[in-house]
């Protein structure tokens, strides 16, 4: 080989690490155990130990997954209470150990970069980068850095005391499976690799169990139906062999020889006794050919009638079972969904969750009610058919089964092709919808920039994609049908050929030949459904997993066992060293400590992303802090029952949500059973009464998605009325006036002024004028409290708040012109 780049040898080494058997690309990457004391390779350990003084002990040893040149590999960071050793195998000329005395270190830092981080040690004169690692191992380094910082501060009292603080165990990484490290598809939220199909199916069957008193008889009925439905085929043999053929012979014989040919005494096969009995009872001539024929035909009709009516009954029973399962699954899922905390909703989009409760549950119903029954029923049918065939003539039966492997092969083959084609097609249809969903609401933009032609072309391109997909599907379909028909045809050819020759040899009767034909025709459907079973199985398992994922997720914010009630609080709120992060990457709150007196109004100020909304989310316990406590009247909120806590808190949000229902329902939402008097009073207090009365239906006006259109300011005032009616001790106003015009704002301001009286209030506002009644202002910056104090104090300080104020005054001047 020539021209090999120097880096490629390293890369090859990386690949060699994966096991050569199986799929190296999908190697299981179970989470490494989070430890700051990893086991070092012997050689490294020896070299490190050689550097240490007597009695010096290794406190931290962690490995990276990157080297400094950016190739994958393991570097090490080792620390004792005296020194830090960086092992950097990438540096030339040989693997190098760098030693840094801890007493010279001032700070240990993590430098967060794009896709990888660097651990840096800062000294008075310079700084050394000691490790480079990807995000995969960053939890380990987050854990180790404070430990390193502790070691540093012990060795060097002058060092910076504040270690980079990262909360642990916050947020879950839902992009990758926790058990196998396989990426999880965004739409599903379930690791396809880890779905334990069998377990899930058993769990599903448990949902059918409460309805077994209907399901079991339905199953029994189905077995009976499958058995009985084959009988007419068997009877046809009797008709041919014992009625028609003898009769024909008799007629032909009579015309040819003019002598009475002997008619063999009728045999009735298995049903001899019954048929004789019925014939006798109907006073039909038993031995007479005509009566015999009619009786057999009547039997066929009877069996058929039984099969049909029993199928109808069974269908109804199974529908009952299936719908009951659906209802139970849906209700249970929805109930649990309501118990789940906000972080669960943040990770998933609404459509995804909705489809779990509607589509996935329906798919499960289909699987339990139809799929499992089909499995049993079709297997039984195949067994019955084989049994009948082999019982009649095992040689011919063997011949008949020859096309079966072909049938199975092609069904599975086409099934797999088909599901691929259809999933592509499904995606293309989804793309069409997404084009429509983005251009129809955005039509003003499209027209304003005269981009209609562009959008039309884009759409046309997509419809062409769908056309191609559909044609691929059609190609398969049109090919599939003839092939299947040919295979079945070849089966019947074989029956004609082999059966015919057997008739020549006298080993087979004409009736048996007919029966084989009939049975062959019934062979196809069960084979087809059984071949599809695996795919149905997998789909059901995936659906089950999606549904059960909801049910199995424990709410991250839940009542503790020892949680206490909370009644008649005064409304003192205290934050103490609160740290919080939505994900593991960035802290939204970085050590917040402050207290609000009962009845005090706190204005929260800061740039977007400063942590204002997060602070509020923690008061309402939409999330729990990773570290630190929030106390209400001295009770840790985490030790208080959620319901009791939220009963004390009222919220007015930026974009208020109105439920489907009347205005009165929406105001009364916060206080079930509120009287009309209270509702009108709350609406009056919220400055909402006047516009409500002007609606033709007054308080009975339907609002929500399908109801009367209510403007933003009106919605806001309804939601303020909702909060007023609840009469909470702690009130949260999250940008309550930002989305309305100035006049409405003053209307709402007036309502708010009344609302905040005597309550502890936390108010977020971009327009600082909204906060003019605030007793104190908390200015947040990067999740920390930057400034705190009254409006005047902060202005005097000439800090962040003062400059914010200045900018807004300038803006409002411009607006006033």
């Amino acid at each position: 080989m020539h021209g090999m780049r120097p880096g490629s040898s390293v890369r090859r080494e990386f690949f060699r690490k994966s096991p050569s058997n199986g799929h190296p690309a999908f190697e299981k990457q179970a989470d490494e155990e989070l430890t700051t004391m990893e086991e070092m390779p012997e050689e490294l350990e020896n070299r490190a130990q050689a550097l240490l003084a007597n009695g010096e002990e290794i406190k931290v040893a962690i490995s990276t997954d990157l080297q400094f040149d950016g190739t994958y590999g393991k570097d090490w960071v080792i620390a004792t209470d005296k020194r830090l050793i960086a092992f950097n195998q990438n540096s030339t000329p040989q693997h190098q150990l760098r030693e840094i005395s801890l007493s010279s270190v001032e700070a240990v830092e993590i430098v967060e970069m794009h896709g990888n981080n660097i651990l840096k040690v800062r000294m008075p004169e310079n700084a050394v980068e000691v490790a480079r690692y990807s995000r995969r191992v960053s939890p380990k380094f987050d854990l180790a850095t404070p430990e390193l910082a502790t070691l540093v501060s012990e060795a060097n009292p002058n060092a910076e005391q504040e270690a980079p603080h990262r909360p642990q165990g916050s947020g879950k990484n839902k992009d990758k499976c926790e058990t196998c490290g396989h990426p999880i598809p965004r739409w599903s939220g379930v690791c396809v690799n880890c779905v334990e199909k069998r377990k899930l199916i058993f769990r599903l069957i448990r949902y059918a169990y409460p309805f077994w008193h209907v399901a079991a008889p339905a199953l029994a009925l189905m077995m009976l139906i499958r058995f009985v439905s084959l009988y007419p085929t068997y009877l046809s043999k009797e008709v041919v062999d014992n009625v028609l053929v003898p009769a024909e012979r008799a007629v032909v014989g009579a015309t040819v020889t003019q002598t009475g040919a002997e008619i063999p005494p009728p045999t009735w096969g298995h049903l001899s006794g019954i048929v004789d009995g019925i014939a006798e009872w109907m006073t039909l001539p038993v031995a007479g050919s005509w009566g015999h024929l009619v009786t057999l035909i009547l039997l066929m009709v009877g069996f058929n009638f039984f099969t049909m009516s029993a199928s109808a009954v069974r269908g109804y029973m199974m529908a009952w079972v299936g719908q009951n399962i659906t209802r139970r699954l849906r209700n249970e899922t929805y109930e649990h969904l309501n118990a789940l905390s906000l972080d669960f909703y943040n990770d998933r989009d609404t459509g995804n969750l909705m489809s779990r409760i509607t589509e996935d549950v329906a798919r499960l119903r289909d699987f339990i009610a139809n799929g499992l029954q089909d499995l049993i029923g079709d297997s039984l049918t195949l067994i019955f058919i084989c049994a009948l065939m082999f019982n009649e003539n095992w040689r011919l039966a063997l011949w008949t089964l020859i096309p079966l492997p072909c049938l199975i092969f092609f069904t599975i083959f086409f099934g797999q092709k088909m599901s691929k084609v259809f999933s592509v097609l499904w995606k293309r249809y989804a793309d069409i919808s997404s084009i429509l969903a983005s251009t129809i609401p955005g039509v003003r933009v499209v027209k304003a920039f005269a981009r209609e032609r562009y959008e039309i072309n884009r759409f046309s391109e997509q419809t062409y994609q769908v056309f191609q997909g559909e044609m691929n599907a059609a190609k398969l379909w049109t090919l599939y049908r003839p092939i299947m028909e040919f295979i079945i045809f070849s089966g019947s050819i074989l029956i004609w050929l082999v059966g015919g020759s057997q008739i020549f040899g006298g080993a087979l009767t004409l009736g048996q030949l007919m029966m084989f034909h009939g049975l062959m025709g019934r062979f196809f459907r069960p084979v087809y459904t059984l071949c599809q079973m695996n795919e149905r199985f997998i789909r059901a398992a995936t659906s089950a997993d999606r549904v059960f994922e909801i049910m199995d997720t424990p709410p991250s914010v839940a009542d503790r066992k020892e949680a206490v009630e909370l009644s008649n609080i005064r409304g003192a709120v205290e934050f103490k060293d609160v740290y919080f992060s939505y994900d593991t990457e960035k802290n939204a709150l970085n050590g917040i400590s402050f207290g609000a007196e009962p009845g005090e109004m706190i204005g929260l100020v800061g740039h977007s992303g400063a942590g204002k909304s997060t602070l509020i989310n923690l008061i309402t316990r939409f999330y729990d802090p990773n570290e630190g406590t929030i106390k209400i009247d001295g009770h840790d909120t985490q030790q208080v029952k959620l319901k009791a806590l939220r009963q004390q808190i009222g919220v007015v949000l930026q974009d208020p949500f109105l439920f489907q229902g009347s205005i009165a329902d929406n105001i009364g939402y916060s206080k079930p059973g509120a009287s009309r008097h209270e509702i009108i009073a709350a609406a009056k207090a919220a400055n909402a009464h006047n516009f409500i009365v002007k609606f033709p239906d007054g308080y009975d006006t339907m609002v929500g998605e399908r109801g009367t259109r209510v403007s933003g300011g009106e919605r806001q005032r309804i939601s303020i009325a909702r909060a007023i009616l609840k009469n909470p001790r702690i009130l949260i106003l999250d940008e309550a006036t930002s989305s309305v015009d100035t006049e409405t704002e003053s209307n709402i301001q007036e309502a708010l002024e009344r609302l905040v009286r005597g309550r502890t209030v936390f108010a977020i506002a971009h327009r600082l004028s909204t906060l003019k009644y605030a007793d104190r202002l908390v200015v947040l910056k990067n999740g920390k409290i930057d400034e705190i104090g009254t409006h005047e104090e902060l202005l005097a300080k000439e800090g962040t708040y003062a400059s914010l104020c200045e900018k807004q005054t300038e803006l409002s001047k411009i607006r006033a012109w």
Partner: protein, 169 residues
């Protein structure tokens, strides 16, 4: 620390026994309030027209400003009650459907042929969302022209009407 607001203090109902409602020669309402002030061309508005038609009646002056709310028209004197009740009867026209003869159409656009307490009527609906059902069994219907109809309790309709209505719910 200030006490939090007492919510019911936020609305003062009129002392209905001291309110006098009469009708002027212009067929408009004249209201004399407890404080003796008299207002002409007063508008009476049901705040809960669908769910509580004779309670919480708001009285608006000719400018649309609210004079006050009467909690229950029964609290008024006999004569005033009569005047106000007849005015409300006139203002709010919502026939009660007693029987559905025919209901046909698709995609939510339907034609109804019904019997009401005000006589037989035929009307059309634009969407199925114009049929609103309350838990109590009451049904409100708004037709394409904006007229309103109600069914007091659809469970008490005859079987044919019920079957027809069910297709719309």
């Amino acid at each position: 620390m200030q006490e939090a607001m007492q919510i019911t203090d936020e609305v003062q109902f009129l002392d209905a026994s001291k309110v006098k409602v009469t009708r002027s020669a212009f067929e408009e309402l004249i209201v004399k309030l407890p404080d003796g002030e008299t207002h002409t061309s007063v508008e009476a508005v049901r705040t809960f027209p669908l769910t509580d038609s004779n309670k919480y009646i708001a009285l608006l002056d000719s400018e649309g400003e609210e004079l006050g709310i009467i909690q229950d028209i029964k609290q008024l004197s006999r004569n005033s009650e009569k005047v106000l009740a007849s005015e409300l009867q006139k203002r709010y026209f919502m026939p009660k459907i007693t029987k559905i003869h025919a209901l046909e159409g698709q995609f939510g656009v339907t034609r109804w042929d019904v019997e009401t307490n005000r006589g037989p009527v035929q009307f059309g609906l634009r969407t199925r969302y114009d049929v609103v059902t309350l838990d109590s069994g009451r049904v409100f219907i708004k037709d394409a022209d904006g007229n309103r109809y109600e069914i007091e309790n659809y469970h008490r309709l005859d079987a044919t009407s019920f079957a027809l209505l069910e297709t719309q719910m």
